[in-house]
């Protein structure tokens, strides 16, 4: 049937069947705007920024984002209130800020088993208020807030905390309602109209930050959800943004987010001494907005407000990684395990490429007649690989039998591979995700090295049963060592990625075994004739 199609029709079929993978997302999951945007962000964001930004002259250092040096009030015994959640402890200090959010889950702990902390010890903390009036600000730094509660449990539902600061000329009332899922309502009331700023807070630098994971600030602006990312160390002079949907200060797995801040609200991104972005928004006399602090968990954020999932980013490859994550999440809902979800993903990709492989298998049958001729040609053109290859290819075309897989199926693996890598790197859900037996964290390298070794072994076996014709003995040697090179190369890769590749190899082996068997049966049948 395929032979009757014109080359153009076959080309379309080939592209279509390989692209179905991406299309599935579009049908099952409506495309999120951000994914489309990310594609063009490189260009548009710059344009968008120049539209909304107005670089101010104020030098950053004088602004006093960094309160650590002047915090006479916020010394060690400065904790006003402690909220204990199911898997975190949130503390509020006497400056009316979120002093710390400590994640109690073991998977977030670092190598020394110290729990992950979401707020930087130095620098501005979330919900810190700075007054534009210097004298007022100085006073505010010295007068402690009071709280209506000291301690509360936040296992379910919500807890309201009222923080009050009585200054000589002004009373500040912060009504905070914390919800167990990590988001909170903010209601700030000033007895008099004063100009002030509220800080988003900064994340600490995690010591075991992984290669290529992005940290910094993200601003989502406009109806088109244009995403601007200011990476740590890359922040420039103060920039303002309007029409902000959400603003986030994020690390690999966590984020502090402000949202519902109002379309007119000015969001400013300044830099600190290390050129890390410092984010604050301009408040009103009576001002309400929402915030979130916690892991960038897709389900939690989606449940709070679907738009918040825009805060999850996978670097420049988001346009492919985000749909891939959606698909993995979809699979995870059925199988309940991320490891198995990856295995099924591999299978799905295999099935989608099956029209290609099936056609390849069909041509295998014809190879029998061809192989003696190939040997003949190889002998004839010994020492001239170019001529030999050309002659062999001409023969394959003439006989309509080509045993080779082609470059397209191979190249298609690269974006899939990279997207999985990004997802494993950034998706907090996969952190500490178990598979079977010894695999306890798919996002981390396999400490037992068993998975990379299995990967190398399956690769070796796959090579072993796949027929290949080498013209250059040197290349052949290197080719034989490739599984070993790959094993070492994969050792430090996240276990989930190694799992993907190993399972992929296993499927290739099964496929090749079927082909070989068919071929052998065919050979036998011919001989008996």
């Amino acid at each position: 049937m395929l032979d009757k199609l014109t080359p153009n029709q076959r080309m379309i079929l080939a592209v279509a069947s390989s692209a179905v993978f991406m299309m599935i997302y579009i049908t099952i999951f409506p495309p999120e705007e951000v994914q489309v945007d990310q594609n063009t962000t490189a260009q548009t964001s710059k344009v968008a920024v120049s539209n909304t930004k107005s670089t101010t002259i104020t030098p950053s250092v004088d602004l006093g984002h960094d309160t650590s040096s002047t915090t006479s009030v916020s010394s060690n015994n400065s904790i006003l209130a402690t909220l204990t959640g199911k898997n975190y402890i949130l503390t509020i200090d006497t400056l009316g800020r979120i002093d710390q959010k400590e994640m109690l889950e073991e998977k977030f702990a670092d190598k020394e088993n110290v729990n992950a902390k979401l707020v930087s010890e130095t620098g501005a903390k979330p919900l810190y208020i700075r007054f534009a009036d210097k004298a007022l600000n100085e006073e505010a730094m010295k007068v402690a807030y009071t709280s209506n509660i000291k301690e509360a449990n936040l296992i379910d539902g919500h807890v309201s905390v009222t923080l009050t600061q009585k200054l000589s000329s002004l009373t500040v009332v912060k009504n905070l309602t914390f919800y167990s899922d990590g988001h909170y309502d903010v209601d700030i009331k000033l007895s008099e109209d004063k100009r002030y700023y509220i800080y988003l807070g900064m994340h600490p630098t995690f010591s075991d930050k992984q290669m290529m994971s992005v940290e910094g600030a993200m601003i989502d602006t406009g109806d088109d959800h244009i995403i601007t990312i200011v990476k740590d160390g890359d922040a420039e002079n103060m920039t303002s943004y309007n029409g902000v949907n959400l603003v986030s200060s994020f690390s690999q797995y966590f984020a502090s987010i402000f949202y519902n801040i109002g379309n007119e609200t000015n969001v400013k991104v300044d830099r600190d001494r290390d050129d890390n972005p410092v984010v604050f928004i301009e408040g009103l006399q009576n001002y309400t907005f929402n915030g979130y602090i916690g892991p960038k968990d897709h389900r939690i954020l989606h449940a709070i407000k679907p738009e918040l999932t825009n805060a999850i980013e996978y670097g420049w490859f988001t346009f492919a990684a985000a749909p891939l994550f959606q698909f993995l999440l979809f699979l995870h809902d059925y199988v309940g395990n991320w490891g198995w979800a990856i295995v099924i993903l591999t299978l799905v990709i295999r099935i989608l490429l099956f029209p290609l492989t099936f056609r390849g298998m069909l041509s295998m049958a014809k190879l029998k007649e061809v192989s003696p001729k190939v040997k003949e040609l190889q002998a004839k053109h010994k020492g001239d690989p170019q001529k030999m290859n050309a002659a062999v290819m001409a023969l394959y075309k003439k006989e309509g039998a080509n045993p080779l897989g082609g470059c397209l199926p191979l190249l298609l693996q690269i974006p899939v591979f990279f997207a999985i890598y990004r997802v494993l790197l950034n998706a907090v859900e996969l952190k500490g995700a178990e598979w079977i037996f010894w695999i306890t964290d798919l996002a981390h390298m396999d400490p037992t090295y068993v998975l990379p070794i299995i990967m190398g072994a399956t690769m070796f076996f796959q090579q072993h049963i796949t027929p290949s014709n080498f013209t250059d003995p040197m290349q052949e040697k290197v080719f034989k060592f490739l599984p070993l090179i790959f094993t070492f190369f994969f050792i430090t890769f996240p276990a989930g990625l190694v799992l993907y590749w190993a399972v992929n190899n296993i499927f290739s082996i099964i496929q090749q075994a079927i082909v070989n068997k068919k071929f052998a049966a065919h050979k036998k049948a011919k001989l008996e004739e």
């Binding site: 056609r359 050309a390 080509n402 082609g406 470059c407 397209l408 191979l410 290349q475 490739l482």
Partner: protein, 110 residues
């Protein structure tokens, strides 16, 4: 400039990375070799499109076989008429169309 970068990249690819998928190309010349010839002798945009189309063709739905790049213009300057100095053969296909075939024989003309 851009051309040189791409050719350098292709050289590195062929030297070091091609082994990952060794012997999977269904064509002669292989996709990477085809790309090299394209970028060597065709305008950049044509080389790009042709190379991408070639990679898309390189799967089991196509028979593979011999597939040489096509050039429209002759842009060769032969300095010495030694066969070892000839880089490509231009084999006429139709009016103003040539197959581009690299000359691999070194030294002795035959």
């Amino acid at each position: 400039m851009f051309r040189t970068i791409i050719l350098k990249f292709l050289y590195i690819y062929q030297r070091f990375f091609t082994l990952i998928g060794y012997g999977s190309c269904r064509f002669y010349p292989t996709c990477s070799e085809y790309a090299k010839w394209q970028f060597d002798k065709n305008p950049l945009h044509i080389a790009f499109i042709q190379t991408i189309l070639r990679i898309l063709r390189c799967n089991q739905l196509f028979n593979g076989g011999i597939d040489y790049p096509l050039v429209k213009k002759l842009n060769c300057k032969i300095k010495k008429d030694k066969i070892s100095n000839i880089k490509y053969w231009y084999v006429p296909k139709g009016p103003n169309q040539f197959y581009l075939i690299k000359n691999f024989s070194k030294g002795k003309p035959c």
